[in-house]
């Protein structure tokens, strides 16, 4: 009877294993799950060592008779372990959040730059090499995004770096096309031509046409005042100065309308006197330097014509038919046509180009 009572008392007074033990074990699993073994292996080792030591204390207590067991010191140890583990968890979560944020910020900045450059390719026809690099950059950024979702920051960073490499190549491809448009001497020359043409219009009271390649505009001046402006298209390599037949570039210089065609191949057309004396000089110089391929001639038949501003011409200036109707009506044989790269240094397109990280 007495023995039975003792057993009963013993069983009743056996304290339960502290709940902190299972909490700490769950936390240990969670810490491993969030990659603490990768980000803070030493801290995880310390945490697990302390957890093991607390577990050992519990094991030691369990080896005692029920009424002799005292889990309180072990529970206190476990609370400390839990506190430390929680701190570690928060630290790793915050580290990963900050890694994700900085990764995301870098990826977003690159994506924005890709979009910006892509938009700029709309300004010129020679965009294929730029777009090729941009496309490669976009693919790398997409791969980086997939890796970010898997929290593979190192591999993702490598993809971001490769994306940036292609982005720089795209910027450099733009620089190759636009290098002349950042040259102050070229700009000064174009501005002088433009001023002289407008001055001629003002002094004689005549109509003149001023074509700005980068702005893709044909502006009509009468008596020195702008009376109309039309969107235009250029040759496939329209931003380059025409040098020889077949280069599909649009010439730059001071020209005159020499013939009007009411029904040409591309709607109405105004033939200009390309090549002029300057063009011939430039062609001869280029030939001497070996810059003219094969037996290519200097070319000709450069027109302002209809057929649409979005078409790629062989070097002519293309307009929408409705605009061509008006330009055609303004034109006379002898009307001055000045074609320049850019008129205003302050134009928005040049400002955007200036923002690019390109080197001449």
């Amino acid at each position: 009877m007495l023995i039975g009572l003792c057993f009963f008392a013993t069983a009743c007074s056996t304290p339960p294993v502290p709940p902190e033990l299972s909490q700490a074990q769950r936390l240990d699993e969670e810490l491993r799950g969030i990659g603490v073994s990768f980000y803070a292996p030493q801290d995880l080792n310390r945490f697990e060592r302390e957890l093991r030591s607390a577990k050992d204390r519990i094991v030691a207590e369990r080896a005692k008779f029920g009424w002799m067991r005292d889990y309180r010191p072990a529970a206190a140890d476990l609370r400390k372990v839990l506190e430390e583990g929680d701190g570690l968890r928060l630290r790793i979560v915050s580290l990963k959040t900050s890694k994700t944020e900085s990764f995301r910020a870098r990826a977003d900045a690159l994506t924005e730059r890709v979009a910006e450059i892509k938009r700029m390719t709309g300004y010129f026809n020679e965009s294929a090499p730029v777009r090729m690099n941009l496309s490669q950059a976009e693919i790398k950024l997409a791969e980086a995004d997939l890796l970010l979702k898997k929290e593979e920051y190192d591999a993702g960073s490598k993809d971001l770096a490769e994306g940036e490499f292609h982005l720089r190549a795209a910027e450099q491809a733009i620089a190759d096309v636009l290098i002349r448009y950042r040259d102050r001497n070229e700009i000064a020359k174009w501005r002088t031509w433009a001023q002289e043409t407008i001055e001629e219009s003002r002094q004689r009271g005549t109509v003149v046409f001023l074509v700005s390649k980068i702005e893709r505009k044909l502006t009509v001046y009468k008596a020195g005042a702008a009376i109309g402006s039309f969107d235009i298209g250029l040759g496939r390599y329209g931003l380059s100065d025409k040098l020889y037949a077949g280069d599909e570039a649009t010439p730059e210089g001071k020209y005159r309308v020499i013939q009007k065609f009411p029904a040409g191949d591309f709607y109405k057309a105004l033939l200009i006197n390309y090549p002029n004396d300057d063009d011939r000089k430039a062609f001869a110089e280029a030939r001497r330097k070996g810059l003219i391929p094969g037996q290519a001639g200097i070319g000709g038949a450069i027109e302002i014509h209809g057929g649409g501003k979005d078409s790629l011409t062989k070097g002519c200036v293309g307009l929408e038919n409705k605009d061509m109707d008006r330009v055609y009506d303004y034109a006379r044989e002898g009307t001055a046509v000045t074609i320049v790269g850019v008129v205003s240094i302050e134009n928005t397109i040049l400002a955007e180009i200036g923002k690019l990280d390109i080197h001449d």
Binding site: S127, I139, L312
Partner: protein, 198 residues
């Protein structure tokens, strides 16, 4: 003589008890080696969850060993069972791994094929797109986009050759998406012309 026998029996009994209380070092080493071996075989890449579970099981077994080691009367029975299970599971995972890797490889090849089809479809669309008024410039730019995707396509094969099938899958998905984007824009350019014709 009788006393001597008693001593011998006692010594033998202690030896048996001590032997039973010895850490299962060999099993621990085998389990660790098995885990290392499946990791090297690519389990951490191609069987991520199974590998994590195995790692956790080994850790639990080592915990049990450590806990018993601190006791005066050590019982490694449970720890041995746990270690044996880790070994069995690691072997099973290692045996299943080639199939998992093969599945990842097949998926990567399938995605590579999808990317190829996407590129070909975009190219066919570009070739038949009317290069007339309103589209020539856009199509020229899209050709550049497609050329970039085509160049990136080669990276898929490089990853496959390097037996990095997960990376190959990611690359194939990205190229396929890029090709689809080009096709979409070519279609928009075609629709633009159709709209103009109306």
């Amino acid at each position: 003589m009788k006393g001597f026998k008693k001593h011998v029996v006692l010594v033998l009994a202690i030896a048996v008890v001590l032997a039973a209380c010895k850490q299962p070092t060999e099993q621990i080493n085998s389990a660790k080696a098995a885990l290392e071996s499946v990791m090297k075989a690519g389990a951490d890449k191609y069987a991520v969850d199974e590998y994590k579970k195995l790692d956790a099981d080994l850790k639990a077994a080592l915990d049990e060993v450590a806990a018993q080691d601190k006791k005066f009367f050590k019982k490694f029975g449970t720890a041995k069972e746990m270690l044996a299970k880790v070994l069995t599971d690691a072997d099973a995972l290692k045996a299943a791994l080639p199939a998992k890797i093969e599945a990842a490889k097949n998926l990567a090849i399938q995605l590579q094929g999808d990317a190829r089809k996407g590129l070909d479809a975009a190219k066919a669309l570009l070739d038949k797109a009317p290069k007339g008024k309103g589209t020539a410039k856009d199509l020229e730019a899209l050709k550049g986009d497609l050329a970039g995707a085509e160049t990136s396509f080669a990276d898929i094969q490089k990853a496959l050759d390097a037996q990095d099938y997960i990376a190959a899958q990611d690359k194939a998905k990205s190229v396929k998406d890029a090709a689809a984007k080009v096709a979409e824009q070519v279609q928009a350019a075609i629709d633009k012309v159709k709209g103009v014709k109306k």
